[in-house]
């Protein structure tokens, strides 16, 4: 029980940091390449703590994103749930992959995430068809090994 509570705490504060990073001001040049921190975190926890970080966790994270970014309410919630569901489905396979192979799959996941957001904003009637939209996916995949190593270290140290 206490073990679970500690796990929850860890998930909470790492998510909070990801939220901060999501809106932290960056210079314009790198702003467009900002990785989707919270989504990466949701993928990480879905892989490593599937019992704790379930779909409702992903949904809540998405809802927080909606509130933070001020888009259509539910847009991020939906995409987060879909990505988390796919990750949960392939969780057992993905966690034994070497980290670079994981990064490739994460790239595909984030690409589909952005594609979903693109489709939804199309329904809502405000579509930005800039190629800049796809850069964060690449940045996210590049940052994946870093995230894994940092969070693995955190997990090891807090055991």
């Amino acid at each position: 029980m206490t073990q679970e509570r500690i796990g929850w705490l860890r998930i909470m504060w790492t998510s909070a940091i990801a939220l901060l990073l999501t809106i932290a001001p960056l210079p314009d040049a790198v702003n467009a390449a900002r990785p989707d921190w919270l989504l990466l975190l949701v993928i990480y926890w879905s892989l490593n703590a599937p019992m704790l970080a379930g779909l409702s966790y992903a949904w809540m994270c998405g809802l927080l994103m909606d509130a933070l970014v001020g888009t259509l309410l539910g847009q991020y919630a939906l995409t987060f749930v879909v990505i988390a569901a796919v990750t949960h489905r392939f969780q057992l396979r993905m966690r034994i992959f070497p980290v670079l192979q994981q990064a490739v799959i994460v790239l595909l996941l984030i690409l589909s995430y952005h594609w979903l957001l693109y489709v939804i904003s199309g329904f809502a009637g405000d579509q930005y068809s800039s190629w800049l939209r796809w850069i964060p996916a690449l940045a996210g995949a590049l940052f994946w090994p870093l995230i894994v190593s940092v969070l693995d270290t955190v997990n090891r140290l807090s055991k």
Binding site: A16, L73, L132
Partner: protein, 303 residues
């Protein structure tokens, strides 16, 4: 023992299967989106959510606030003096302009009185600070540090010292979100100051450029013309500068001219902006002159 499930998690206490759970959450999300987009039921939910994320915004904004404070507290005497001199000069010039303006205003009021359509910007205004928070880089939105608690309302016009800045799109309890006139989703009804020609200026996604797509090749417009808000749409007070025309391209084969303008407001450099309380004259039905901001329109007319 054969492992029937690919999942090592225990079967008991696992809850409904993954597909069912995700389907359920997806349906809720879609319901949320439809409710938000079509019916605007969720303004209260948004209010609550804005309070929840406020600490995050506050924390992210803090370094900017602190550096600003430090900068203010430790500026040296010389800098303050030169700043003071510049401001004195600016104030003197402004006062000189105001003298003639008073007479003009009087005259204008009298002339307009004949038409019984006097537009008024009430004296109430409020300075809001732009929080150092980055939202989606593709959308030109900012977070202001004033919200419902300060009387901010949806569709409120925002100015800076050089012209029209944008309008409020979402009001939270302590913060609000604003759309800049340069956002591709935004359009503002304008008038060419020189010729009185009315048209609409759309955002392009670049803070240095607005697009005027509805001008024919014969339209009386040229580079250097000042575009001012026309007041149609009832959100922006008429007469405030919006942009300066930078490029007019007329090709004989096209019906419409390519016209671009540069916003006069310092959209990307502002730190503080001004929220104003503008009461448009009563119109019965008006259509959506601010065509892409109908949500904001509805409330602004009867605040």
């Amino acid at each position: 023992m054969a492992n029937f499930s690919s999942d090592i998690r225990p079967i008991i206490g696992r809850g409904p299967p993954l597909i069912a759970r995700s389907f359920f959450l997806v349906v809720i999300s879609i319901a949320l989106m439809v409710g938000d987009h079509r019916y605007h039921y969720l303004d209260n939910v948004r209010q609550v959510m804005s309070v929840v994320v406020y600490p995050v915004q506050w924390l992210v904004d803090m370094p900017g606030r602190v550096t600003h404070w430090v900068y203010d507290s430790f500026t040296d005497r010389n800098r303050l003096r030169s700043e003071n001199d510049a401001l004195t000069v600016a104030l003197r010039d402004a006062n000189l302009d105001l003298q003639t303006l008073a007479a003009l205003k009087e005259e204008n009021q009298r002339l307009r009185g004949l038409q019984e359509a006097v537009n008024t910007v009430s004296d109430k205004r409020m300075i809001a600070r732009i929080m150092r928070v980055d939202l989606d880089p593709l959308r030109h939105r900012v977070v202001l540090n004033k919200g419902q608690a300060d009387g901010v309302f949806k569709g409120q016009a925002i100015l800076d010292t050089h012209g029209i800045f944008g309008q409020v799109t979402q009001v939270g309890r302590y913060t609000s979100e604003a759309i800049l006139i340069s956002d591709p989703e935004h359009a503002i009804p304008v008038r060419v100051n020189r010729s009185g020609l009315r048209t609409i200026a759309e955002g392009t996604g670049s803070t240095a450029k607005l697009n005027l797509p509805f001008l024919t090749s014969e339209a009386d417009i040229k580079p250097g013309d000042l575009l001012i808000a026309s007041g149609l749409g009832g959100i922006f007070p008429p007469g405030y500068p919006v942009a300066e025309v930078t490029r007019v391209e007329r090709s004989p084969s096209e019906t419409f001219a390519t016209v671009e303008a540069k916003p006069t407001a310092l959209l990307d450099r502002d730190y503080e902006v001004m929220l104003i309380w503008y009461q448009p004259p009563e119109f019965e039905t008006f259509g959506d002159a601010d065509k892409k901001a109908p949500r904001a329109d509805a409330k602004a007319r009867k605040p």
